[in-house]
Amino acid sequence: MLLRVEDLHKRYGKEEVLKGVSFSLEKGETKVIIGPSGTGKSTLLRCINRLTEPDRGRVWLEDVEITSPKVNINRIRAQIGFVFQDFNLFTHLTALDNVRLGLIRVKGMSKKEATARAMEELARVGLADKANAYPAELSGGQQQRVSIARALAMDPKLILFDEPTSALDPELIGEVLAVMEDLAKSGMTMLVVTHEMGFARTVADEIIFMEKGVIVEQGPPEQIFSSPKQPRTAEFLRRITDLYGGAR
């Protein structure tokens, strides 16, 4: 088991956003979390790498308990990739520098090694020719792909995707999803929060449906989409298909 999440709770002020979430991920699996907005899906991802500290609950990466106070969280984070909705590329650095920074400062690679590795990943996402561009000079889709390259370069055990295409213009979504699909096929362990049902249906090994801070149902895509067990799941899917007009 690569990732295990046990009974996560998180409260913001009076509102409890995560009310005891538990699940696990095996190596090579891709799980997609779907659900209405504001149900704690992003918070869940941030609690896994402790960008947000959970109030209660535990998380294990392989056999290391991430939530333990004794653990060196920076070292753990270097093993977990995180792709943000807003990309969060370092504004003052070129694409190449963005991908290199972690390799040089966190993994201690030499500049030469780091550059080679970084260029590899940029090529993998199709942006080798944009290595010297600044984020502001790239389209949204390109920025997100660089952001994925940045996460990949660290050789993570697992990558968390927080609504990676929600901030993109429709015509740019495809290029990012394509990269993600390739990644999944190549055996990367991925946990994705998204509204892209087409992607969920074709790429996910398992779908997790969350609503109001709890997991309502989880299962393989065929089951969730065609014959959901819970009425709330069916209700959500009905609303989504109305909104997006069926599978994309």
Binding site: N49, L51, N74, R75, I76, R77, A78, Q79, I80, G81, F82, F84, D86, N88, L89, F90, T91, H92, L101, G102, R105, V106, Y134, P135, A136, E137, R150, M154
Partner: protein, 226 residues
């Protein structure tokens, strides 16, 4: 109207100008160091270093809320009554430094805080420590963002340095006053000095704009798309 001007004034005035530059440069540099420390205390000091945070905030409010002249006079005329005596030059540097540090603290704080939170988050997500994140991600951006207000402050300090002539420092204004007292050509001397300042500030503005252009990064600052 009867105007008179003499080239013989220029050497002394140039000497004064040099001292003006010294005063401004020294106080801006020292003020920057102190200001950066104050800014960091104000931003990050709330929890762990609360007393230091309070001191920094109190300092900033005090030195921004009171006139430079009062600060200068207190240091030079009032402190001797409790046995702390400074030479005019040192008193001038001290007053100017303490004053500009408070303003620079606020400019640094504003710049650091306008680096978006997502930048820090992304840095942490990569595994960088807080200190590394501040050093490699936040500060490089903040230092660029602070250039416009800092340039403004530099101009203010050049003008502020003029005030120290009142305690006898022979910078540009001080030299001018001496010449005026000797020749009784107050208006003319001061017009010449005004031209000196105009030229100086014009040059400084050009240099600062060049620095800004050289360090500019597309997307960083108000000119960006993000």
């Amino acid at each position: 109207m009867n105007l008179f001007f003499s080239w013989s004034w220029l050497p002394k005035l140039a000497q004064g100008l040099l001292l003006t530059l010294e005063l401004t440069g020294l106080s801006m540099a020292l003020g920057a160091v102190l200001g950066l420390i104050l800014a960091i205390l104000r931003i990050y000091g709330r929890g762990p270093l609360y007393p230091a945070y309070l001191l920094a905030s109190g300092y900033v409010h005090l030195f921004r809320g009171t006139p430079l002249l009062v600060q200068l006079m207190t240091i030079y005329y009032a402190l001797p009554t409790v046995g702390v005596r400074f030479s005019p030059f040192v008193a001038g540097i001290l007053a100017l430094t303490l004053n500009t540090a408070a303003y620079q603290a606020e400019y640094f704080r504003g710049a650091i805080q306008s680096v978006r939170a997502g930048q820090m988050q992304a840095a942490l997500a990569l595994g960088l420590s807080r200190l590394q994140a501040i050093r490699h991600v936040v500060l490089p951006q903040a230092l660029r963002l602070v250039i416009p207000p800092w340039s403004n402050e530099l101009i203010y300090m050049v003008k502020g340095s003029a005030v120290v002539y009142l305690i006898g420092v022979l910078e540009l204004m001080g030299q001018a006053k001496n010449i005026a007292a000797r020749t009784f050509r107050n208006f003319e001397v001061y017009i010449v000095v005004a031209l000196f300042y105009l030229a100086l500030i014009f040059l400084l503005t050009l240099i600062l704009r060049w620095v800004e252009r050289r360090t500019r990064i597309p997307g960083l600052g108000t000119a960006g798309r993000l």
